[in-house]
């Protein structure tokens, strides 16, 4: 283990190397709490990013934040390393208000494609060299960019309902070949919400595919920018990834604000948080498993009902803990809302009962699902996502781990109480739908281990030391111009939040990096050239939640 002093000097040499690498392309330095920031000229971005990726090993473009200041637009590329996510760097690209165009990062990181489209859509920054700079979340006929300074929300808008045309039609050279255009969604049972996938089929094979998102764009970032740090933001994260993974999402906000306002969380509260978060992960993975079984072999009876039975058990425990079944709003800045429910023994017993039964249930799921021949035929070697491709698209969570990318923020960028507990990161190198499903099932078992250890700790915790909240002032006003980007391992992967304060009690910019957004982008890569039923399986195994994709 390294001591704190060494880490610091490591960081310093790291920074010196970065400075040397970027050289005089860096116009200035910017301080972000999480990472060194370099301000770069709009024309040099691409070169700098190429160098950072190829020479310095920053292979993970975690997030792209766009925002408007009074005198300029700004794009921030938050880069990390898959091997060590604590090694971060931010590339800040200012562009003038009159001509907000900078070079696209898409040639460097494929994942920047959608991120830049979102930046264009919501803030209005242009990216030169971007392959397809269109609106992504809002309808194409929308007027104005809602997160820019001069947007008027009262203006009317017109939205069309068109049956999309076949994008490949003009390429039909050979009269023998004909393709068929097929809309999957936005109202379709297999899209897990309101996703629209435009597919072009050549027979049964997918010739072209484009996910069309934004049918659930609920302005989450605007809502958070209008709320005060202390209490008004916390309810929203529950509604990003809404399949009962609320506490995992709340933790993302809690971590970011605690970093921004420099708040320490009591140890006891951290254990309670860890306990709740892992229960949420179990519930969330159960849903993924049940709906996946429903997708691939229409299993509405046994498997689906079994997973929902288990979800009900977890939800009961969570309801006892937090007071709600889904939208918990249980974390507070600096801790949690209240202690475990009284009588504590009952809570412990109920949770332990659930944990005791879990191994038998997991075995049953394996009997029912993963060893099932039909299931295996549908899943093995379909929807293949190679590790390099996964990294290029910024995939995280079980999707990346199913492709053998050993990346889990709970271990690699520790927070909460995870460091002190015994558990393993699950990876699989199948790279296919099957690997992703197995990965989730094994993660359920790991989560159960974590919950068990938390219970042991909580049970023995001295009664006079059960501090659930740090002492946090009523109004939080972090210093003006503090910026941070913090991520946690949510159910679907890396859920990050970028926040900038302007000295008031509300954030000036609140940007959500959603794991599903990046994961979904890889769908084309997994499905093109494959059969259409495999598309449904791949979509199911990505386990997206539209609330989080669209925010």
């Amino acid at each position: 283990m390294s001591t704190g002093i060494e880490t610091q000097s490591d960081a310093e040499t790291g920074e010196a190397e970065l400075e040397a690498l970027i050289g005089d392309r860096a116009l200035a330095r910017d301080e972000h709490l999480n990472a060194p920031g370099f301000v770069v000229n709009p024309d040099d971005v691409q070169d700098v990013l190429f160098d950072l990726r190829d020479e310095a090993g920053y292979d993970h473009c975690s997030c792209v934040t766009a925002q408007q200041y009074e005198d300029r637009f700004e794009t921030i590329y938050h880069l990390k390393k898959y091997a060590d996510p604590t090694d971060e760097v931010s590339i800040v690209v200012p562009t003038p208000l009159s001509d907000p165009v900078s070079k696209s990062a898409e040639p460097v990181y494929r994942t920047a494609d959608w991120h830049e489209r979102e930046a264009y859509d919501l803030v209005g920054i242009g990216y030169e060299g971007h392959p397809d700079l269109r609106r992504i979340l809002l309808p194409e006929t929308w007027q104005g960019h809602p997160l820019s300074a001069d947007y008027d929300q009262e203006k009317p808008q017109v939205v069309t309902l068109t049956e999309h045309a076949n994008p490949l039609e003009s390429d039909h050279r050979d009269p023998e070949s004909d393709t068929m255009f097929l809309n999957v969604g936005p109202h379709h049972p297999a899209t897990h919400g309101v996703l629209h996938v435009k597919t072009v089929l050549d027979g049964e094979t997918i010739a072209d595919l484009e996910p069309d998102i934004g049918y659930l764009h609920r302005c989450e970032e605007q809502m958070c920018q209008q709320g005060t740090y202390r209490h008004q933001i916390m309810p929203y994260p529950d509604r990003w990834d809404y399949v009962s993974s609320g506490l995992l999402n709340e933790w993302a906000y809690a971590r970011a604000i605690e970093d921004l306002a420099d708040i320490d969380v009591p140890e006891y509260a951290q254990i309670v948080r860890t306990l709740g978060a892992e229960l949420c992960r179990i519930a969330s993975h159960m849903l993924a498993l049940g709906t996946f079984a429903l997708d691939v072999y229409g299993e509405f009876t046994a498997t689906f009902m079994y997973t929902f039975r288990d979800r009900e058990l977890v939800q009961d425990i969570l309801e006892d803990l937090t007071g709600q079944r889904m939208m918990f709003n249980y974390f507070r800045v600096g801790g949690v809302a209240w202690d475990l429910p009284e009588p504590r023994e009952d809570f412990f017993e109920q949770t332990r009962d659930f944990l005791d039964e879990l191994p038998a249930k997991v075995a049953e799921y394996n009997d029912l699902i993963t060893t099932n021949e039909i299931f295996q035929t549908r899943c093995i070697d379909t929807g293949v996502l190679e590790p390099d491709v996964a990294k290029d698209y910024g995939c995280t969570g079980p999707v990346a781990r199913g492709s053998g990318v050993d990346y889990d923020l709970r271990r690699d960028d520790p927070y909460g109480y995870y460091e002190n507990l015994e558990w393993d990161v699950v990876t699989r190198d199948g790279c296919d739908n099957y690997a992703r499903v197995l990965c989730r099932m094994e993660e359920v078992e790991e989560s159960a281990k974590i919950v068990e250890q938390c219970l042991d700790l909580l049970e023995d915790w001295p009664e006079d030391d059960r501090e659930v909240q740090a002492n946090v002032p009523r109004t939080l006003k972090p210093d003006a111009d503090t910026e941070t980007y913090r991520a946690v391992e949510a159910a679907k992967g890396e859920l990050g939040i970028y926040m900038r304060s302007d000295g008031t009690d509300k954030p000036a910019r609140f940007k959500i990096r959603s794991p599903c957004f990046s994961n979904l982008q890889a769908l084309g890569e997994m499905s093109e050239g494959e059969y259409i039923p495999d598309l449904i399986a791949s979509l199911g195994s990505l386990d997206i939640v539209l609330g989080e994709v669209d925010r």
Partner: protein, 235 residues
């Protein structure tokens, strides 16, 4: 006794069906069979009712829901369909994937501008008579996202809604209560009136000419269906 002889014991009796049933049941009639319907029948196997009333009663007791997941509320909706809450107990438990086979639509979530026209289309595709349950605060007013630039302030701006179930999300029990209330309304032959809504699907050429329409004229065809959102007039 051979089968071609008339069965004297049955002739002239007013309670043949009860006899047979009781014989099948053994000792006494099980409570489970004493349904409201059975009570209404009394001792006579005939009922006299208005056809309309009978149809409404049938409709209310056999509702086919549309499988329609939008946002967070849909997760609680799935829980309502699934084990433990099992809304099939009320004859409303098999969600249909196609709007053409459904008569009740539960709208479980936030409606945003891009989805509005699609929801209207799905609603239009359902055969008459059709009913709508609005689930959650979002379908009432936009809920927690009411101030959002992209959020329709309640599904009622677009389609008529029969029952509102408040909550964020409503618990499955609350949704079941809503469904039961809807059954009651259907049985009484009530439904909310179909009136012109603030946001309708119309052809682009029919929109009143203004600055916005002129600007979009090059992008949208005259006969494309569009929905125009006048945000300033929203509640």
């Amino acid at each position: 006794m051979s089968s071609d002889e008339p069965r004297q014991t049955i002739h002239g009796s007013t309670a043949p069906s009860t006899d047979t049933r009781e014989a099948r049941m053994g000792e006494g009639v099980d409570d489970r069979f004493n349904s409201k319907l059975r009570e209404a029948f009394g001792t006579s196997p005939f009922i006299l009712t208005k056809f309309d009333q009978f149809m409404n009663w049938v409709r209310g007791n056999s509702m086919f829901m549309l499988q329609f997941g939008i946002a967070c509320c849909s997760i609680e909706m799935i829980h309502t369909y699934a084990i433990k809450h099992d809304v099939d107990r009320y004859g409303a438990g098999v969600p249909r994937a196609s709007p053409r086979q459904a008569d009740v639509m539960i709208v479980p979530g936030t409606i945003v501008s891009k989805f509005g026209p699609r929801m209207k289309r799905v609603y239009d595709q359902m055969p008459e008579p059709k009913f709508v349950v609005g689930m959650g605060s979002c379908t009432i007013s936009g809920g927690p996202f009411q101030e959002g630039y992209n959020v329709v302030k309640g599904a009622e701006e677009i389609i008529p809604i029969d029952i509102h179930v408040p909550g964020c999300p409503p618990r499955p029990e609350a949704l079941i209560y809503g469904i039961l209330k809807l059954q009651e309304r259907i049985q009484n032959g009530e439904s909310s009136p179909v009136v012109v809504k603030p946001y309708e699907l119309e052809e682009f050429g029919d929109l009143p000419e203004d600055e916005l329409v002129q600007k979009l004229a090059s992008e949208i065809d005259e006969d494309d269906l569009v929905m125009r959102y006048n945000w300033a007039d929203s509640p």
